[in-house]
């Protein structure tokens, strides 16, 4: 009788233990290397901590400092928003257009799809090196062709007014293949029979786009937009390598500023604060997206 009870207990324990075996390792890593550091970062944002002394709790001083006393931070904030506003719609619309183009039943569309995605696999440093040359004001390739067409040469990355736009164009070349691929997959999921029956009912191209394609593509567009938004607020490596945040700080982004604060000036508390601000912005962005999506879906 006792043995039966013991065996049942053993079996129960085993049953409870098995999920832990599967899910445990990953969750531990998540906790140790993701969740815990974020909690610590949150706490650090309320501290003053440079590399020499011990951390000192100073409440909201870091926040008030960067928001009200730090024009450099505000510049990075504006630059980041400028970048997102420029790049996100561009990446989405061009990606969508290319997906349409490369979905047409013509020879050569496979090659186009493959090549469209090719820039994506090239590392940021190589991308930056090439484009720094292409963008060179005096002997760069792009200005050479502009001049041979009779146009003025453009100070792509030499002028503060143009620099961010130039960065966005590079990112467009570099990353649009990703969006194109996802949109293409979404387009291909739409059954052809829908278009055929619409055509029988007399719908033209625009109508079938508006009433069939767009609604069915909405989840995909939503995903690309939200994910694209989240990643574009975090922009850093392309700016670091292409323009180093210049000229005249016109391309410094939030993450770049965070890097400088933490690892050039060793203000770890301040860097943590910038990170929290970044998180807050992304959080609000995602919240807005989900709220508006719920409204349109009802």
């Amino acid at each position: 009788m006792r043995e039966k009870k013991d065996r049942k207990l053993m079996n129960n324990l085993k049953k409870k233990f098995i999920p832990v075996l599967f899910v445990g390792p990953f969750l531990s890593f998540l906790l140790v290397f993701r969740i815990a550091p974020i909690g610590i970062n949150f706490y650090m944002s309320f501290c003053k901590w440079d590399i020499m002394s011990k951390p000192k709790f100073i409440g909201l001083q870091n926040y008030t400092h960067i928001l009200f006393d730090d024009p450099f931070f505000l510049k990075s904030l504006i630059n980041t928003f400028y970048y997102v506003i420029l790049s996100l719609p561009l990446l989405m619309s061009v990606g969508l257009i290319l997906a349409f183009l490369f979905n047409r039943p013509v020879k050569g569309r496979e090659v186009s799809r493959v090549l469209c995605f090719l820039p994506y696999v090239i590392m940021v440093s190589a991308v930056a090196t090439v484009w720094r040359w292409l963008y060179e004001t005096h002997f760069g390739l792009i200005n050479y062709y502009l001049r041979s067409l009779g146009l003025e040469k453009v100070p792509w990355i030499a002028a503060p007014s143009m620099a961010m736009i130039s960065v966005v164009l590079v990112v467009l070349w570099w990353r649009v293949g990703y969006n194109m691929t996802i949109f293409l997959a979404g387009l291909q999921e739409i059954p052809r029979t829908l278009y055929e029956s619409a055509q029988l009912d007399g719908a033209n191209t625009f109508q079938s786009f508006w009433f069939i394609t767009l609604p069915l593509l909405r989840p995909t567009i939503f995903f690309v937009f939200v994910w694209g938004g989240i990643t574009s607020f975090q922009v850093f490596d392309v700016v670091f390598t292409l323009t180093q945040g210049g000229p005249v700080n016109s391309t410094i982004t939030l993450v770049h500023y965070m890097y400088l604060k933490g690892f050039s000036w060793y203000q770890f508390g301040g860097a943590a604060t910038v990170g929290c601000v970044l998180f807050f912005i992304i959080f609000v962005f995602v919240l807005i997206q989900f709220k508006t999506m719920r409204q349109t879906y009802v």
């Binding site: 098995i18 998540l30 970062n41 590392m123 041979s148």
Partner: protein, 291 residues
Amino acid sequence: MMSKMIVSARKRKILSMIALYIAYTVFILVFLMPIIWMFSTSLKPEAQVLSYPPRWIPKSVTLENYREVITALPNFFRWFFNSIVVGVGTVLLTVFLSALASYGFARLRFKGRDIIFLGVIASLLLPVQLTIVPLFLFFTKLRLADTYISLILPSAANAFGVFLLRQFFMGIPYELTDAAKIDGCSELGIFFRVVLPLSRNALMAVTIFVFMWSWNSFLWPLIIINADEMRTLPLGLALRLGVGDVAGGTAAPRWGIAMAGSFMASLPAIVFYLLLQRHFRSGIALTGIKG
């Protein structure tokens, strides 16, 4: 009347075909041009690099830039090796952990399973930059800066693989796993012998993703690695080959060498991609659909 309509409809079709082909050509050129330029410049002797008007086909082809990269940057291949070690290590660790966890979330029942999974997905929204400063202090205090471990371990805390694989595992018919259970197979056994072999495509997609992400990772290696011989490839290129650096700081940039280095670094990824491009793009399509 009918024949006129048919002819103009055909004319329109031909015109739109021509327009389409023109558009295709333009886009193909736009995507290819910078890469070809990189290669072309890397083959030019230093004197010709700045020649004006710029030439696509070099007047004289030389390999001296490539030789210069190797001699001026003795760590170049070390960087390459580092990136591979970190990439492979990250893939092994991440895929292993994610697959195990995804199986647990997809096929096992336990208390709190769905809430925990929701939390895991929510972690995807947390920007990784929030972890950078604390992790830097953590690894530095443990004297683990400048190590492979510091590059590999944090990358495993990424819920993306779990997200993808769980969807996939949920789609495996229960008849298969039930049959294995009846045969006396343990959960672990089912995982290794039934589910994993069936998930080749999904696993390959996750592998490619994680490897590419690790290969291109920039911010974290920049922060945690200071020793030149431990740098990863993107880092080494940017910091040591950053135009203007090879040949001493603010001197005139040596574009030929910079392009050669960049091309050498990009070639493996390009080849890798062209060979496996179908897997790449179907993997990405998978994320879009599941997302």
